[in-house]
Symmetry: C2
Subunit: 419 residues, 2 copies
């Protein structure tokens, strides 16, 4: 197996036996970047060469891409603004940077983000077809991982900024339960929604990163999925799905059944249908507040979609915002009861279809909005194929704080032979 | 009435009639600071002189103290570290600074905070007795407002950092519902708990600031409090209260009854008793994550209480943290049902008693921990007197997102003649 195709645990095993040197993965990724970056354009800034690798840690020698809305001391941060707001180096690294470094990870560089992680695209292209968007807002992180430039990269999700690019780029993308990993040192956009997550090419690497960052026990695969109840339900509902997505969901469905799980259509209370709209309200209201200072100074330099969002948020009443928050708090409990009583994991659409053509937009986060608002863990599985063989993912969703269960089921599923 | 004793609305009325000039309040506060700062030591940094006041805004000409964990461009920020971490000026102001300035408020300076808003005290003294602590972590903001150095000052609360100093300093302190005002540009400590709030000498000013920052309708007083149900319940329970606090609660109780409200002992589910411990767990776990980078570089310069907290947090399991979060989410809904069905406002202890002697500690946030974890709005009423005539507050607590109702009841109560 090529080094850039290896899993984190496999690399650690090679390090332990002396078959690999601590800087091998870093060098392989640098070479890959040198070859591919002119086409893919995943990086805003490449970090300095690493000279020493920490002696220990679950992520020893693992190169990581850092989304460019995450503060770093020894690399600039520009929040996807193209430079109208730019720090040459933060006073303090974002917490997650230190937490990763303490486990031996190596900071490869800053990956391209849309403007403040909203919709104005950066330069990055989809490695599967460079005439298409990689999705956003974590565009560079998804493209870098999909293209073998880094085995692991950080993203954030406020609407669909991890799951959608993971689906478009054909990789795993994981948004853990809201609040799982500290956002300290990451610019807030809509703080009720903003969640740190990560991309990888292996489900095992998603799991290793989760248990490393939370210091929770390692995620084990189950013997099989017998007894596991899979509820199929997209938000918004199934009547809006494209043929590509229906096909990907069917593949996932069959694979679950082959592994012993039972699959059924999950009935959800009619109130869940309002969540997409509530998410838009919460996002706009909070973004208008959070970016008040940036808007005050830089509105004339901002992209029109961001200006429009902030103005929408300014026009919203607090009463409408509150309505969304109160309805959501109630539905979080309703969904938790459903996870307690009738379902182990929800299977849902990740995105409307394959990555759209063009680099002037990053696609629609529609199928992620409600789940992000609910704060539940979401995992994109790179399982389907659409037109021209382009990737179409599906997402698995777990209960709030049920990340370990979700990942364990996913790990078992993806180890099972495909149907 | 002296200018420094005036309410915001009264000052706006004088501006409108030409009886006051826009910079009058600023000048009065500067004079007060010049006279009193050597004793009180509320300020970490005094801002530059203001030369022009915005032409409009609900807070036009109102000087505001900014807690020194809140980013500012034209003033340094040192997060209560005494300088081992210090920014000479942030790239972007914290969102709340811009939101206040857009309403015409004037930034007076940065007020003293404990170290990262935890327990290591700054230099500030209690204006009522300079041998005593003003409380913390928002020490300078509370002392400045209590001493007439500013009519309004910002604080943050993660355990009891607004309510406790307000109680010790004999002023109003308001922690709105979690998430009400953006924390963008404010260093996170425990992001599930950290809440921005403010201090004032008038309940009307607490209300004006709330409706200005949320752009919600103005808070009106009710004709009287008949029909209002006041549930008395401290967390932890009443058996732990000191004589001073019991006396203050009795005064509030009587005043409510005189205004027509009915007062009763609120029964709360036994599970609420676990919230104080859950709050400590959530706080330590999140602080260890959020301050990972600061700890990595500056542990040797940190105060021992902060180091101990971070080490406690590092030793906690994710499973224990999750247990606290899940229990809290459930109890938030239980409490909301109680607000829907049986109670309009909860009356509770703010602090264990009057401000403790000495400047080497800032007192105990015990009686605020559970409410902060629940995310409900809390308002300190400066209503009682303890030994040597020192202030003892009580807090009123409303339902999550029921801030307007809570403030309206408080405004009505405090207008009613004291018993």
């Amino acid at each position: 197996m090529q080094l850039h195709e290896m899993s984190i645990d496999a690399f650690q095993a090679r390090l332990a036996t002396g078959e690999a040197e601590p800087l091998d993965w870093w060098q392989t990724c640098r070479e890959r970047i040198a070859a591919r970056e002119p086409e893919v354009q995943a990086w805003e800034f490449l970090g300095p060469e690493v000279e020493q690798v920490p002696a220990e840690g679950a992520l020893r020698g693992v190169p990581v891409g850092i989304k460019d809305i995450i503060d770093t001391c020894d690399m600039p941060t520009a929040w996807g603004t193209g430079g109208y707001l730019k720090s040459d180096g933060a006073l303090v690294d974002a917490a997650v940077v230190t937490l990763l470094q303490q486990q031996g990870a190596l900071m490869m560089g800053k990956t391209v983000s849309t403007e403040f992680a909203y919709f104005t695209p950066g330069k990055t292209r989809n490695p599967h077809d460079i005439s298409r968007t990689p999705g956003g807002s974590s565009s560079g992180s998804a493209a870098a991982v999909a293209d073998g430039m880094a085995p692991l990269a950080l993203g954030t999700q406020t609407a669909g900024s991890i799951i959608r690019p993971a689906s478009y780029c054909g990789i795993y993308g994981f948004k853990p339960t809201f609040g799982t990993v500290s956002m300290a040192g990451i610019k807030p956009f809509a703080p009720s929604l903003d969640t740190l997550g990560w991309f990888a090419r292996h489900i095992e690497d998603i799991c290793t990163t989760y248990s490393t960052l939370t210091r929770a026990p390692a995620i084990e695969a189950l013997p099989d999925l017998s007894g596991i109840r899979v509820g199929v339900r997209s938000l918004p509902g199934d009547e809006t799905l494209s043929a590509d997505v229906i096909q990907a969901l069917r593949q996932a469905h069959e694979r679950f059944e082959q592994a012993g799980a039972s699959v059924f259509a999950l009935p959800l209370d009619i109130r869940f249908d309002a969540l997409v709209e509530h998410q838009k309200v919460v996002l706009a209201y909070e973004a208008a507040q959070s970016l008040a200072s940036e808007y005050q100074r830089h509105a004339h330099q901002m992209g029109p979609t961001l200006v429009e969002l902030i103005q929408q948020g300014q026009a919203l009443t607090y009463a409408r915002y509150r309505e969304g928050q109160i309805a959501t708090a109630e539905l979080r409990q309703v969904l938790s009861r459903s996870f307690e009583e009738e379902v182990d994991v929800v299977l849902a659409a990740s995105a409307p279809g394959v990555a759209p053509r063009g680099l002037d937009a990053t696609g629609d986060p529609l199928f992620c909005r409600a789940w992000t608002l609910l704060g539940v863990p979401c995992l994109n599985l790179p399982i389907g194929q659409g037109e021209q063989g382009l990737p179409v993912g599906v997402q698995l969703i777990g209960d709030r704080y049920g990340d370990d269960r979700l990942l364990s089921i996913a790990r078992t599923l993806m180890r099972s032979p495909a149907g």
